[in-house]
Symmetry: D2
Subunit: 256 residues, 4 copies
């Protein structure tokens, strides 16, 4: 799966002192086809990136600084793989304008680098047009403040778009007597249920049901390490995808 290159990819990690950034530093160092040339923490000058000769940056910083970081990279022809949140429509539009002037530079902005999670969402959307019913259960540790999770919301949106495109009716539901909340919340017409349980990390199930059969797509994130294969896959492929790509699924060979 890895590119065989005589010269390793020169990578700078931004946000290297954060929890995700620290994992990325370790992952880049361990990758045989990469070389970590800079690890920047809060307050470090972006000039360290160019001084070190980096050809790739991995941005795992904070919403306040990610835009400036990525624009700096693009302006210097450095490809960027970005896991930081905070990229609203305005920021994305500005970045696309900038990239128009740097046609050989690629940027990947991915809200989720867990390969299994990205695949599960894509599969769920694709399958949902073949089943009468679909619901989502997401399960997380009890210190999480929002319900449902952002991943569950996005998965529901993907599914709803696919079902609308196929002109499918809503899933059947004869419920007439409900204790408030029993049937979960609704995101674009898709039911989502949020479980909070000590001991868990981040888990999601999409349940699809038809006459006499069920298809279940489950993803479990046990550990922050689960994001690193996706980050490395991003670094390995970003140069071959000039311009802006949002979502890691754009790099996966899903054919859809």
């Amino acid at each position: 799966m890895t590119e065989q290159l005589s010269d390793p990819k020169l990578v700078a990690v931004l946000g290297a002192n954060g929890r995700m950034g620290a994992e990325a530093v370790k992952a880049v160092e361990a990758a045989p086809d990469m070389k970590l040339v800079a690890a920047l923490g809060r307050g470090d000058s972006l000039d360290k990136i160019t001084a070190a000769g980096a050809r790739y940056v991995v941005d795992l910083t904070v919403p306040e600084s990610t835009e400036a970081n990525v624009r700096f990279a693009v302006e210097h022809g450095i490809h960027a793989v970005v896991g930081t949140t905070g990229w609203d429509a305005d920021r994305l539009a500005g970045l696309e304008s900038l990239l128009a002037g740097h046609p050989e530079t690629g940027v990947l902005i991915a809200p989720n680098f867990a390969l299994g999670s990205v695949l599960a969402s894509a599969f769920a959307a694709k399958a949902s047009r073949y089943f009468e019913s679909v619901e989502i259960i997401e399960l997380h540790h009890p210190d999480k403040v929002d319900a449902p999770s952002g991943t569950a919301v996005r998965t529901a949106q993907l599914i709803a778009a696919e079902r609308n495109a196929a002109e499918m009716p809503p899933g059947p539901d004869a419920t007439t007597s409900e204790l408030a909340g029993a049937r979960g919340c609704e995101v674009d017409g898709i039911r989502v249920h949020s479980v909070r349980l000590r001991g868990l990390v981040a888990h999601q199930e999409v349940l699809l049901g038809g006459s006499g059969e069920q298809l279940t797509l489950r993803h479990d994130s046990f550990d922050r390490a689960s994001f690193m294969p996706g980050v490395l896959l991003g670094v390995r492929n970003v140069a071959a995808h000039p311009g802006l790509t949002v979502g890691l699924d754009g790099y996966l060979d899903l054919g859809f």
Copy 2:
């Protein structure tokens, strides 16, 4: 597991034309230690029970007739195994008074004859005092009109009682931003989530979570046949349990 008796148990099935009753007729006929001596449908006289020499009745009728059926059985010293709903506190009290005058006759009234479901609920309650978090997910076909299911409500009540007895605090939950319904409904302080999916029959999961671990107790009912082993177990044991027993768990060797 079966008693080895030279003489088979003589059984009458009431409600024999209903879906559950028809299954019971088949199950009793197939049981090597039982003999079906009467199968009564709507409108049949209860005298057929005594005329046939039945020593056991299995009542799978309707709430309107179950009380008269069971009282008739007890008055004739015939043991009764009852799956019909509608036994409120008044009816139960009246039955206990009647049984006081027939000290050798046993009656089992069970809202649920699926052994696996009864065991799962009992285990869930027992385990719940050892885990910080517990939530219930029940999953049914989409033609069901009530949410959550009666079994889920009873399971939550059993769990809540056990946790209150152990003076456990509520499960942790940091949710501050919730899309209405995401966190399910609450039954005695226990969160319950109801999934409705074409293709399913009746399923329930109790999830228990503690530091670094999870215990999951899941029961699947695929078919009405799943109730029959419990009905037969009831017939085999009711004579040894004179008086009134509510709930099949009273006959299971659970030790608690």
Copy 3:
């Protein structure tokens, strides 16, 4: 999802007295865009198909007769959807020769019509190149005589082909002390485990594991009815796929 046609598709079901065929008869009768014009059982003359004006045949017969049935259909320009087993390489080659002379006629031969199962296998193969480890667990009723199931073998073959194409190494396994059989059997290098349990019908899980994450793809067949949406999808699409198609996935919009 259904085509809106003024004229319904005229369908003949072959093997209409078998268990699958009887389900197909019901399914075709219930489909608003189809009309059942003939239902043939053992011994019926194939002329009934043409006499009834069928434009589609659904063959759910036995290995001994399926080849003659399908060839008869093709020779009369009738599209065929085939669920019968027994199509070895020789028969398929012969059929392709015949179809060469009838370029507008389509034949779908599908070993498995459960949409969820076909999707799960396709997704598993696609995902398997992104995970270090993959194993299969299939679970069936205890009256099944072969282990592993044919579906599990095919799924393992699809996965192995995908991983070989991506030049992936075998999954990691440090086992040095094994009680014989504990680690399952191997199909093309993929571990497969077969569970046999009373109460089950036909179920399969593909487990994919990488650093800190797991992706699980599970399919449950609860009932023979689960095959009918796939059969109808076949009838609706076979005319648009002239020539021979093996596997229902050829008709699904999977993009891969």
Copy 4:
């Protein structure tokens, strides 16, 4: 759930530099009803235990030293909670002789301190007499050298003993054509399947099946922290259980 005592329990942890021991040091320090008075590593003199005034020792050392450690504790009237392996029949017999002379001292030797795992095994054994079929699937990280796991072997033995006591026949299995290993290994007549997958830690499912229903008992260990509630429960209860107890289930209120 904790005892309310004015005086905290004085605890010494042996093997404090090992991975489990280090977790135990943290857990004892965090427990409001305990006080860590000594933490011994390799080479430390056992006299540190008595010098520190410990009333309880937690032994998480190695098979070579655990026997001497526990005997030292008992000889000084100190209760011991032991997670170290290597206690064969000879050692246990010797320890019981020693305890006969110290009738107020308690020792708990537990091969598994994960409460959920201990509960799941106990429930599985208890339930297994009510189901025709039972099989075990255990799933671990791929660096594990033995298959099946010790916990799976013990669970199978408990189940087999329960089913033998109930004079149950073997589970049904019509397999006549098996690819070697597909049906797993057999432990006392119970089928066990071992999955090895990157990303997993330690997981086990017991599947029980009967007519039309399935009961699944699953335990997931995500983290070494999952053992600490069991260790603390041991310390809190060992004084009330003088003599030798093997297995944490002896302290759980399971009633069986």
